[in-house]
Structure formats: structure tokens, C-alpha cells
Amino acid sequence: MLRIPCPYCGSTRDEEEFTFGGPLERVRPEDPQQLNDAQWADYLFTRKNARGPSMERWRHTFGCRQWFGIERDTVSHALLRVFELGAVRRADTSGGLAVGDVHEAA
């Protein structure tokens, strides 16, 4: 059971109050029309699926409903960092297509 300190409402709550929202690094390409099928599929489906420290988006669904970020070790489940989304720059995983906006789907 994860005990997650929400950076917005400040209380530490059980994982059941939260929703995992997918990898943090995924950035929706600014102009998907310009991509070929392989690039678009890469954005939609390819996952780093890291073993070890992993940057993730979470939502305090049954609390303050805010989105925030967690760096979590996917082996030990240790929470390495819990941060507001603006605090960390989102890296790009899909090779040079970093210009874009937040995307909701996991």
C-alpha cells in the first residue's frame, strides 16, 4: 500500500484515493497531422516501462482532484519525489517531438 503525500492538499493518504495517470514524460505532439503512422503509433503505444525510478502522473481523485507528479521506484515502490506538475520539466520520449501539451490518457 502506497501512502502518498499530496503536494496540493498536504495530507498523506492511502493509494486508494489516488489514480495512476500514466508516464509523466509523454508529451502530445503539437501537430499530429505531420506524423507518419509509425511516429503516431510510437507516441500512442510505446512505453518506457522503466524498471527502477519512473516519472509518473497521478491524480488525487478522491481528495482535492489535482494532478501532480511522482518519481517512484517500480521495484521497491519507494516514492523518491512527489512534486507539482510545474516543478519538473517533462522530458521527451518520442525523439524530437517534444513540442506539445499535456495529454490525459495513460
Binding site: 500500500m1 502506497l2 493509494e15 486508494e16 489514480t19 495512476f20 503512422d37 509509425a38 503509433a41 510510437d42 500512442l44 503505444f45 510505446t46 512505453r47 518506457k48 516501462n49 522503466a50 524498471r51 519512473s54 509518473e56 517500480t74 521495484v75 521497491s76 515502490h77
Partner: protein, 416 residues
Amino acid sequence: MENYSLWSLAKHALSGHRRWTPAWHSREPRSRYDVVIVGGGGQGLATAYYLAKNHGITNVAVLEKGWLGGGNTGRNTTAIRSNYFYSESTNFFERSLKLYEGLSHELNYNVMLSQHGALTLAHSPHQLDGLERWSNSIQLQGIDAEMFDLAQVREFMPLLDTSPSARYPILGGFIQRRGGVARHDAVAWGYARGADNLGVDIIQNCEVTGFRRSGNRIKGVDTKNGFIEADKVVIAVAGHSSVLAQMAGVSLPITSVPLQAMVSEPIKPVLSGIIISPLVHAYVSQSDRGEILMGGRADAYPSYGQRGTLPALEETVSATLNLFPTFSRLKLMRQWAGIVDISPDSSPILGKTPVTALYISTGWGTGGFKAIPVGGETLAYTVANDRPHPLIEPFGMDRFVTGRFVYEAAAAGVEH
């Protein structure tokens, strides 16, 4: 290889069963193989077996990080069925079920297949309609499936709470009578013994730490025991597929998530077959040892820690008690988790990769055990001929680019 039979059993009884020979040998890796298979679970061992048996390729090594069948092969709930929806899947899984039906003879190893039926429940008229559509689709493909009304459900599994006052009243269901369970260790060990007998080297405690490529062609694998050259390499490592494929320079559309299972204390036989409820989200059967075996949803976030989280465990147990209130008196004896490799359409990814001579068997998600024989058979064909077996053409990695999915989230039976 020593043949197992009533005669050999009687012979060994005379010497107090102290002279049985090992089922397979522990080998030291050689410096070069035609094919190296990474992962000594069911899929890897079956691939090795069929490479040797069907294609005469015996200069093969199976490299296993831990012990044979210690990953998902030894952690699943051993359900075997072929009641998928789309013909791509039913053809594939039906072939597997047929191979399972002859497997004990084929391997001369009792895999303890017991086909007492897999019953899927409906708790609402909509679900009943859905099951009707599902079973019609299966019947049209010539595979057995049968709708059950409430009286038949009651007769098949008297212990189920079929009263109208149940929290989620059961309205009916559909059954695949040839569905059932088998002994998972025996499947791994049987294939290992068969492959070993045909000349395959089975090497345990040999972790792969990297892949070597020359241009776009695979050249071999680095292991804890040194470099092993190979003409062809197969990755069959379930939950760790992304990690291994990344070492070879291949990115996968896979998410690794724990899936839990648990057993109660052993009791006398009370269940036959498997009961599956997609609504309350549990699948329940009774093992040959008498334990009530329960599984449910996968965990809510990715993980490589083979433990499983408490909320998923709690939901699975409460779902089981919804179906079988009498089990509330049982003690939960053991709980464990395997790391399953979930693909975007809940169907396996099987066959060639963008790297020449590198093949992969992944995306099995929550249901790889039932596909061990066919996964091994078709991948062996693909490796031997360097072209996909017709049964797995729909399951190539390229389907995520072309958009030709085989979307089986419902039939996979687990929400993820």
C-alpha cells in the same frame, strides 16, 4: 530419457524410488548456439522443444535468470480455455487447447489437465446479451460454447450464491466445457525434459545482461557467465520484456503490472471447473490439493515488485465472497503476484522484431499459460523459417502501426 510408465513406477518402487534419474540436465553454456532463448518459462521451454522436435534445430540454449518456471509460469491460476471473441484469437487459443489435450502423451509427462469447464457469469441482462453474442461468435467458429440459464448454473456449481438477494444476482452464464486447469510446474518441467532429451541445453541461474548486435543483426547475448554467440535470439521473459528488449534496442508497447493470486487453506472438493465473473471481478477454482484458488484484477499501477498491493487483494477476496459466501469461513493461506506484460489490445505480441534474427514472445498479459503449447509451436516455426507462422500473423508488432488490433480486453477476463 527414462520413459515414465506404470512399469517404470513399479520398477522404481522396488528400489524405494531412490534411483530416478533427473528429468533434465544442468548444463554449462557453450560459446555458440544456433538459437538462444532468453527465459526459461513455459513459452521459452515450449519454443525450444518445438524447435528441436518440429524443425530439427537442436543446438539451442534456454537461459533462465532464476529457476525454470519461477516467473509467471509458476504464478498463474492455470486456466486453460479458448473462448476468445475474434477468430484470430480463437484459432490461436483453440490450437493451444488441442495441444494441451494431447500434451501428457506428447511429453510423456502428466500435466494433470482436468477439463471441468470454464463458466463465465452474467449479473445483468446486458451482460447476458453480451455473453450470448460472445458464445455465438465462438460457436460460429466451430468451438464449443454453451449458454446456461440460472438453473443450469445452480446445477453446475451448487455453492454459488444464486439467490435473487445476492449483492449482484446471477442471471446466467456461458460455459466452455473443454476449459479447465493443468499443473503449471508440470507443463514447464515436461517441456524442459522433452527439450533436454532432444539435445537442448537448459541453463539456469544465467542472467542475460545485454545483447550484441552487428549493424541491425543480433550476434549474441552477454550473460553473467560470459558472452554467448547466437545466430538467432528469442526473448520470452513476460513482465521483463521491456527491460530485455530495451537492451537490444527495441522499444515495446508493453506495461508491466502485478497480477495477484491467492489460495485458501485446503478443503474437500467443492468446486469443479473455473468460475469467472467479469462484473465482481474474480475467477475461482479449486486446486488438486484442495485449496480455493482466487484471482482478480491487476494492480492499478505499473510495478516490477512481485508482491501485489493490498487494495487489489481485498477486492478479489470480497468479489469471491460475493459469489461464494460460504468461503468466508476459510483462512487465506498464501498470496503472491506475477508481473504481467500488458499490451495495448490485450493480445500477445509474437514473432519478429525490428532487429534481424531477434524474435519476441510477449504481451501475454493475464493469460499466457493457456497459450504455452501454441506459443511455443508457432514461435519455433517463425524462428526456424524467419517468417511468421500463419496463426500468429495477426499478432505481429506492426499491428500497432497499421491499426489492425485484435482487441480482446473482455475475453482476456481481466480489467487493466
